[in-house]
């Protein structure tokens, strides 16, 4: 029986396994994380490639979201960028569990909006900020 060429997308989508989705999603997440860290450091793509001992083309392929990154490659990226790219849920729980929250009480005019209150705070940890703002006495 001749297959319907126009229905090829449905046939191929039916073949997609959960591991395909996990592979691509995590791959793209890693790529996005590397990109964020690169920008934070103020490096160009060329500089990142040089630090990794690779060509720009090789780094581009590594971070395309489709390359099968090895743990070794990720470790090298983490070492050069000086920051985690992958953190397991267990590790994340240990790190955030030890974060201390400090409650401050401030008094502001009743007309102030929540956003105006927020503008007075500089807080790196978003979770911590939310915790603080909920303790503001108006």
């Amino acid at each position: 029986m001749t297959k319907d060429k126009t229905a090829v997308v449905e046939r191929l989508k039916a073949r997609i396994l959960p591991e395909n989705r996990i592979f691509v999603r995590k791959n793209l997440a890693i790529s996005a994380q590397v990109e964020a860290l690169r920008k934070e450091k103020g490096w160009t793509q060329k500089e990142l490639a040089r630090k990794l001992g690779k060509t720009e083309s090789e780094v581009s392929r590594l971070l395309s979201g489709l390359h099968n990154l090895t743990l070794k490659s990720i470790a090298k990226l983490e070492a050069e960028l000086g920051s985690d790219i992958i953190v397991t849920p267990l590790e994340a729980h240990k790190r955030y569990k030890s974060t201390e929250y400090v409650t401050l009480r401030i008094y502001v005019p009743v007309q102030a909006t929540r956003n105006e209150l927020a503008a007075h705070y500089v807080e790196e940890d978003e979770v911590g900020f939310q915790k603080l703002s909920s303790n503001i006495a108006v």
Partner: protein, 206 residues
């Protein structure tokens, strides 16, 4: 006297005092046949951040992207890679956007190191690469991508590969055609530049 035409088709007449030799000209005639493609919106690939399109040659029964998928479908060795590619197209479309230099490559398309990069505003063909699979495309902006054709690369230099080389040339021609249509606004951007509008009968000349 014998007649000897040269490669340009000119013939030398050797005229004797009495008889004029008739010579037969043979020459090569090259026909430049204009090829037209229709622009197709891939309805299964319209996502939050990217809208995907393709083209269809008049004489073919399916569009170029479907032709690629149909040919790759039955190659068992690349089944997983093909699945990953489809998921990737979806993820880029839904969550990331078509960021040209991060997710799309053109090194093998510009493999000729003598070639200068195109002028800044000129579009160029890009490629999506999964292992040995190559799918050629055009990234008009972060929200609009045209998917063309491709195959399984079997040589170091993609341009020399019998499977994909012709699709690089084809992609480059289609890109020029689409770029021209964008400039003349026969393919028009929406106000927020996240989509394009065009007449469904629009034909792009290659």
């Amino acid at each position: 006297m014998p007649f000897e035409p040269n490669l340009t088709g000119e013939a030398y007449f050797y005229e004797r005092s009495i008889n004029v030799l008739k010579c037969k000209f043979t020459c090569k005639i090259s026909l430049n046949v204009n090829i037209f493609v229709k622009l197709i919106r891939l309805t299964e690939f319209q996502f939050r951040k990217v809208k995907y399109f393709t083209v269809k040659f008049e004489e073919n029964d399916v569009n170029e992207f479907f032709d690629f998928l149909n040919r790759m479908e039955d190659v068992s060795e690349i089944s997983e890679d093909l699945a990953n590619m489809l998921v990737w197209i979806e993820e880029i479309g839904e969550n990331y956007g078509a960021i040209k230099n991060r997710y799309f490559r053109n090194e093998s398309i510009r493999a000729d190191v003598q070639a200068l990069p195109p002028p800044r505003k000129q579009m160029e063909a890009m490629e999506i690469q999964v292992e040995n699979i190559r799918l050629y495309c055009m990234v008009a902006n972060e929200h609009v991508v045209f998917l063309f054709n491709g195959g399984i690369k079997t040589t170091n230099n993609a341009k020399d590969c019998p499977n994909v080389g012709k699709y690089i040339d084809q992609a480059n021609r289609i890109v020029l055609g689409i770029d021209e249509m964008l400039k003349t606004r026969e393919i028009a951007w929406t106000e927020d530049q996240t989509d394009i509008e065009f007449d469904e009968d629009l034909e792009i000349e290659l």
